[in-house]
C-alpha cells in the first residue's frame, strides 16, 4: 500500500521500521556513536535506530540536534530514513545536510516496529506491505 507524504529531504531507502510514539531529540535521547536510544522515558529505550527507518511524531529540544544527526551519518549509525507526522526545523535541516531521506504528513498509526517499508522521499510516498 502506497501512502502519499510530503518531501522534506529527498532520497530513497528501504528497510525495517522502528516506531516511537514520542517526540525525539537527537541531542540527549540517543548515543550518536552506536545509535542506541538512551533516554529512559522513551518508548524505544535500549533499541537501536541505526540502519533502520525511524518514524516518530516530531522533533524537540536543542538545535544542536541537527549536528548530532550529521555526526551519526558520518559514524555510520544514522537511521536510513526518517518519517515524521509533522516535522520541524531541527530534524529537517539535519536530514538535508546529512543526506537522509525525510518525509512528513504520514499517519503513524499504520506503522509498526519491525515492518519492512520503502521511503521514496524524492517522489513523496512511503510503501507498506499490502497485507496490512
Amino acid at each position: 500500500m502506497r501512502i502519499p507524504c510530503r518531501t522534506i529531504s529527498k532520497g530513497y531507502a528501504e528497510g525495517e521500521l522502528i516506531v516511537s510514539r514520542k517526540n525525539f531529540s537527537f541531542l540527549g535521547d540517543v548515543d550518536p556513536e552506536s545509535g542506541l536510544v538512551k533516554a529512559k522515558d522513551s518508548d524505544i529505550y535500549g533499541k537501536n535506530i541505526s540502519g533502520k527507518i525511524f518514524a516518530f511524531p516530531t522533533g524537540r529540544g536543542s538545535t544542536v540536534g541537527t549536528y548530532v544527526l550529521l555526526r551519526m551519518k558520518k559514524a555510520g549509525s544514522a537511521p536510513l530514513a526518517i518519517i515524521n507526522e509533522k516535522t520541524e526545523a531541527i530534524i529537517a535541516v539535519g536530514a538535508i545536510i546529512s543526506d537522509i531521506p525525510l518525509v512528513d504528513g504520514a499517519d503513524l498509526s499504520k506503522l509498526k516496529t519491525g515492518m519492512k517499508v520503502v521511503v521514496n522521499a524524492t517522489e513523496g510516498y512511503i510503501e507498506i506491505p499490502d497485507w496490512l
Binding site: Y67, K86, E88, A89, A92, V93, I97
Partner: protein
C-alpha cells in the same frame, strides 16, 4: 510555497552548497506554511562554537563551497582569537575553533564575531533579516522594528547563500501584534532593574509578545538587557514598549490581558565572586567608556579577575579606552563572551550584570552566579 523560475533552478543547481541551502529554505518554508521567499538584508550565524557543534559541524562548514550574497555576520566563538591563551583555552580547542571561523570567512562572512550585529548594520523599520542569536533577534524586532524569525545557525547560513528567507512568522506584520500587556508600576532606574524584571517574568511571558508600559522614563538603550533576558528565559523574539519602540502604536491593545508588576522581585544569589564578567550582550562603546570611568574614579588596580567582553570592531574603535581599562588589571576580550567560552568553567562564582548570563551560566558552565549593576560589579572588583 510559490517559487520563481530562478528559485526552482537553484534547487537543481550543480553546486551542492547552493542546492542544499535552497532545500533548507524550502523545507522550512513548508514546515511553517510560508507563501514564498523574500529577500533579506543581512544574516547573523550562531551555533559556531566548537564546544557545541563538534567535529561533525566543523567538517560540514569546511565542506561548503559558495559565497554569501548579502552581509553575513558571525556570533561569538569560544575564545578571543588573539588572546586565547590568557583565557586558559587549550591549543586543540583553539585550532578547531579557528577552522570553523575561517571556513565562514572563506564564504565571505564579516570577521567581527559578535552577538550585537545591530551595532554594525544600518537597518530601518520594516527591513527583513535572518538572524540567529537570541538577543540579536529580539533587539532587531523590538528596538529596531526590523523583522526576523528565530533562525538556527544553519538556516541563517542558508539565507546568506541564497539571500532570501521564507515569508512567515514575524516577517508578516499581523503576527507582530502584542499578546499581553505588562504594566510595570515598579520604578525602573537602570538597565539592571530591567534585567531583573525580565529575569523574574521571562518564563511567564514565554513565547508571547509582551507590550510593556513603564511608569517612569527609561532610556532606550536599557531595553537591550531586557530583551536579552526575555529571550534567554522564554524564547521571546519580540516585545513592544509604549513610547519607546518603533511599532508600539501600530496595533490595537484594548482587549489584551494585563499583567501588573507592582514591585521588582528581590532575587538572592549569594556566593563569593572569583570572576566578574561584564559584556553579555557585547559591550557598546558607551558602556565601555562608562566602565573606564568607574575604574578611573577608583584609580587603582582591581583585586579580582575582571573580564569585559565586546566585539573586535568596538575594541578597535576604542583602543585608548581599552588600554586605560587594562592598566587597572581588567582584561578586555573580543570575539567571545562568558556564556559561550569554556574558560568560564575554571571559576566557582561569577558576578554579572546581565540577566541573560545569569540564566545561562549555572546551566552551561556549571558555575554559581551573583548579580549586580555595572557599579556594583566594579565595586566588587575592589573588595
Amino acid at each position: 510555497m510559490y517559487l520563481s523560475k530562478e528559485e526552482e533552478k537553484l534547487l537543481e543547481s550543480d553546486n551542492e552548497t547552493i542546492r542544499k541551502a535552497m532545500e533548507i529554505l524550502v523545507a522550512i518554508g513548508k514546515i511553517f506554511d510560508a507563501d514564498r521567499l523574500i529577500p533579506v538584508k543581512s544574516v547573523q550565524i550562531s551555533g559556531i562554537s566548537y564546544k557545541n557543534i563538534g567535529d561533525a559541524g566543523l567538517e560540514w562548514f569546511e565542506s561548503l563551497n559558495a559565497k554569501f550574497v548579502i552581509k553575513a555576520m558571525i556570533n561569538p566563538a569560544g575564545m578571543d582569537v588573539i588572546r586565547w591563551k590568557e583565557m586558559g583555552i587549550d591549543e586543540g580547542f583553539y585550532r578547531k575553533q579557528m577552522r570553523i571561523i575561517n571556513a565562514l570567512i572563506r564564504l565571505g562572512a564579516d570577521k567581527t564575531l559578535t552577538c550585537t550585529p545591530y551595532y554594525f548594520d544600518s537597518l530601518k523599520k520594516g527591513d527583513h533579516v535572518a538572524w540567529a542569536e537570541s538577543n540579536a533577534i529580539v533587539y532587531a524586532n523590538s528596538i529596531l522594528g526590523v523583522r526576523t524569525n528565530r533562525e538556527s545557525g544553519i538556516s541563517a547560513l542558508a539565507s546568506g547563500i541564497i539571500g532570501k528567507t521564507p515569508n512567515y512568522g514575524l516577517h508578516v506584520k499581523k503576527n507582530r501584534s502584542p499578546t499581553v500587556i505588562v504594566d510595570v508600576k515598579a520604578e525602573i532606574n537602570s538597565s539592571a532593574d530591567l534585567a531583573m524584571l525580565g529575569y523574574s517574568v521571562g518564563e511567564k511571558l514565554s513565547n508571547s509578545i509582551p507590550y510593556f508600559i513603564f511608569r517612569n522614563s527609561i532610556e532606550r538603550e536599557w531595553l537591550k538587557d531586557l530583551g536579552a533576558v526575555l529571550a534567554a528565559k522564554g524564547n521571546t523574539a519580540l516585545f513592544h514598549a509604549e513610547g519607546l519602540t518603533p511599532e508600539y502604536g501600530d496595533f490595537e491593545i484594548d482587549s489584551l490581558e494585563r499583567e501588573v508588576i507592582d514591585e521588582l522581585e528581590e532575587i538572592e544569589f549569594d556566593c563569593e565572586p572569583d570572576l566578574i564578567a561584564i559584556g553579555c550582550p557585547h559591550l557598546s562603546s558607551s558602556e565601555l567608556r562608562q566602565i573606564a570611568d568607574l575604574l578611573f574614579r577608583n584609580d587603582k588596580k582591581v583585586r579580582k579577575d575582571v573580564w569585559l567582553f565586546t566585539s573586535r570592531r568596538v575594541l578597535e574603535e576604542n583602543e585608548d579606552v581599552a588600554r586605560k581599562i587594562e592598566s587597572y588589571g581588567v582584561k578586555v576580550f573580543a570575539d567571545t563572551c562568558m556564556v559561550v567560552s569554556p574558560a568560564t568553567e575554571n571559576y566557582e562564582c561569577v558576578m554579572v550584570n546581565s540577566g541573560k548570563a545569569l540564566t545561562y551560566l549555572p546551566k552551561h558552565a556549571g558555575v554559581m552566579v551573583k548579580f549586580g549593576d555595572i557599579k556594583e560589579c566594579i565595586k566588587e572588583a575592589y573588595r
